[in-house]
Symmetry: C3
Subunit: 335 residues, 3 copies
């Protein structure tokens, strides 16, 4: 593996190796595995878990990291080709990325969706451009429509909690004050299908996954032995779930149109996950990638109750990312 851009592009055997390595690093520290190695972290967008866990993970393996944030301490970067750069951006990624790659043994990049151009977002354009500019190991820390570290951490969290590989995962849309990217829903649906699960995306009609992302999940189901479908029927969808994974995302129908999106949501305030949702899935665990808005996306009593796995989920980010870094920088010699 030279880069982790998408779990959907990663051979299943390699995913299993990463999960095994994550478990090993969790129980058997390797405090010098990456001694002298430097990770470059490029954050075009804000972060809490990813920023903390990547730095901590690198340190726990004996390495170091630096953080560059365009627009916050560094100037804004241009990503479009061929433009006359007389605006805000003082530098183009065509220079910035090869330069930063030269200072680091690996780069890891976060760049959220545009939320204005659905086709470009579904093609994951900026991350694909970044990948073409960097000839070092590269990790996607959330792009327009992917978030492989989140997906891998969630896979491990389900393993840890005894969620069967062939279990049922319901990925439910939830209300939110703002339209949010499709990266987590796309990555989680794909991951769960790859893991062999029965995947149901529960959402109001305007929130159906855009076709390219639904196709990704369907392909993953074929590869992994799971299944994938969407539903707008809450009771039916939730029945028998092992995991209810909540997440808000923007409507493909209103993509880039904040007013239409706002109107579409006006009647959807009851898409806040609460205990009654679990009537026909009493043992289901509650998952969310975080950050989560309490009492908008999910009720306090769910998040604070025994079915909530969100903190455990977040903690797995550390171990799986350490496995990814170890795999990329040490390789299989020691892995």
């Amino acid at each position: 593996m030279k880069r982790l851009l998408s779990l959907g592009e990663t051979p299943l055997g390699e995913i299993e190796e990463l999960l095994a390595l994550a478990r090993r690093l969790e129980s058997h520290p390797e405090p010098t595995a990456l001694a002298g190695r430097v990770l470059g972290l490029l954050f075009f967008d804000p972060s809490l878990r990813t920023l903390a866990s990547m730095q901590s993970g690198m340190a726990r393996l004996g390495g170091s990291s630096f953080v560059i944030s365009p627009g916050r301490g560094s100037w804004p970067l241009e990503t479009r080709a061929g433009v006359v750069m007389d605006g805000d951006a003082a530098e183009h990624v065509r220079e910035a990325l090869p330069v930063l790659a030269g200072y680091a043994d690996a780069l890891a990049i976060r760049a959220f969706a545009s939320l204005s151009d659905l086709d470009a977002d579904c093609a994951d354009e900026p991350m694909r451009t970044f990948a073409s500019l960097v000839d070092r190991p590269l990790v996607n820390l959330e792009s327009a429509v992917d978030h492989p570290c989140q997906a891998l951490g969630d896979w491990k969290a389900m393993d840890d909690l005894g969620v069967p590989r062939a279990g049922k995962l319901v990925l439910t849309w939830a209300n939110h004050p703002k339209p949010l990217p499709l990266a987590v829903p796309a990555a989680v649906a794909e991951m769960a299908a790859l893991r062999g699960m029965e995947v149901v995306v529960l959402r109001p009609e305007p929130y159906a996954l855009p076709a390219p992302l639904a196709a990704r999940a369907a392909r993953a189901a074929e590869r992994g032995g799971g299944s994938f479908r969407e539903s707008a029927e809450r009771a039916e969808a939730l029945a028998g779930a092992d995991v209810v994974y909540a997440k808000s995302w923007a409507s493909a129908r209103h993509y880039g149109d904040r007013e239409a999106e706002r109107s579409a949501r006006a009647a959807l305030a009851d898409w806040c996950v609460d205990e009654p949702w679990f009537e026909r899935a009493p043992g289901a665990r509650f998952f969310h990638c975080l950050p989560v808005r309490r009492n908008v996306v999910v009720a306090d009593r769910v998040l604070d109750g025994p079915r909530s796995a969100v903190v455990h989920q977040a903690h797995q980010r550390l171990w799986v990312q350490m496995a990814v870094l170890h795999h990329l920088l040490v390789g299989r010699r020691r892995g």
Copy 2:
């Protein structure tokens, strides 16, 4: 010791141990004591000394750190219980803190006073909430009404400079363009009283310490063998001082009312510490926690003169914080 939230809660014997450890680390480096350990630094508010010295201290002990700043690179965090999170804050501390704690071997948190609700501030509410959410070693890097690392560093600075344990410390209010938190005055008065000193808080009447903070200082005096009183009489208060510690703070009388506070200060521009203040305390050292506004809080000639101890004070932050981290993470086995 599992956490350092307040010097007032720390047994005197443990304070002496920390000071001894700080002196030892200053003269005998332990560059691998915290090898492989990671400190999470969470700054809700700006910092210069604390940010630099915590990272430097961790590095000098062989460990690493990461910095998370809600609102600057990470999103704003909610601290109130039970709210519907449809505002600016994308995440609640109830998730964020346990998550970050899981990435780190210890957390250290700065969260300034609200400056609007005196009772909540005096109860040090957010820091108490944080402490309840984190089951790792925790260090208070300035909360609403406490700043134990500052207080401990100042104690060491006085020891270094030969200020007698039973000497006289005058904590004087000073003018400032803005109302400032009560954390440093509360922590310093308590510390000096614990140290056994004669503590006099010199301030105009509207700047009397609020009752709960005065009570803390009085309790500390009982424990430590010092004394505590307030005074509005400059000449009397300053006479015979060993240390004149300047600091501005908000008036409890006008708490949260910026206009009233501004009016109250209009006539107080002469509360700028200058050489004539030392007429009856010619050998007194000048202390301030920094940052300090020159020629508003204190005249250039005092700050640039031989009685100024402010840079030495600041430098002690490094050693005492290294002692705290060492104590929390290594414990007494090697300490």
Copy 3:
């Protein structure tokens, strides 16, 4: 060497030593040379390359670093003497710098030109003040009129690329939406003259280097055996160049007057380096310090073509800065 403020103040023999050390560190890593050492990075202004490469370089030598950014996570700092600090700045560099120096084994500081007071900028006032306040090794990471790390990296890049020491370097002004500091042109002209090159500054008349900076370059030519002149004749200046180094800078004639500067530039849009510029210098390499605005300063086809050396240039920053840090902190014992 106790500090690197300007290449122009550095003995030629020491420059050669730094270059040799940079080459050695590039091929023979010394991952523990600076173990336990801490570098304090103080950025008054934004950065990408410098921020990343200083942290990476310190880590590759086994050391650590912390970053302080006044106005972004730390409060603004005052630099003027004698002022009544009732404005935005909460702290003076007279306190902040000695304090930070005490937490670090070396400091490195970036503070851009005022772009309002030409005389003060040409005297490099704030950096000279900083140097007087810090009794630790100090590195200038770009001051009002200097950028020695850039200059040293460019020297190494020219060595790497086989540019003859007695070759011809044309430093050409280029268009830009904003007036920019004179630090890079001053440092590069001085460096190339020190290196023994024929240095021609090509610029429209209003962009002649201010007299003190031209004098610096002329003195460097005397010391290094090169030559220095300015020209407004593009064809003549470019003929036979080995290196065309593009950079925009503010006009000394309109210094601080943004409107006059804008008018002066209105007719200068053709100062965008493009392939026809190389007609009489077909083998010349294209240099720029980055960040560069594509299709304003230089055409895409030059930057993406084989003569562009900008990424190689940027990568040399890492090795020369590691050499500087090694030299400052280890000294000649091992160097």
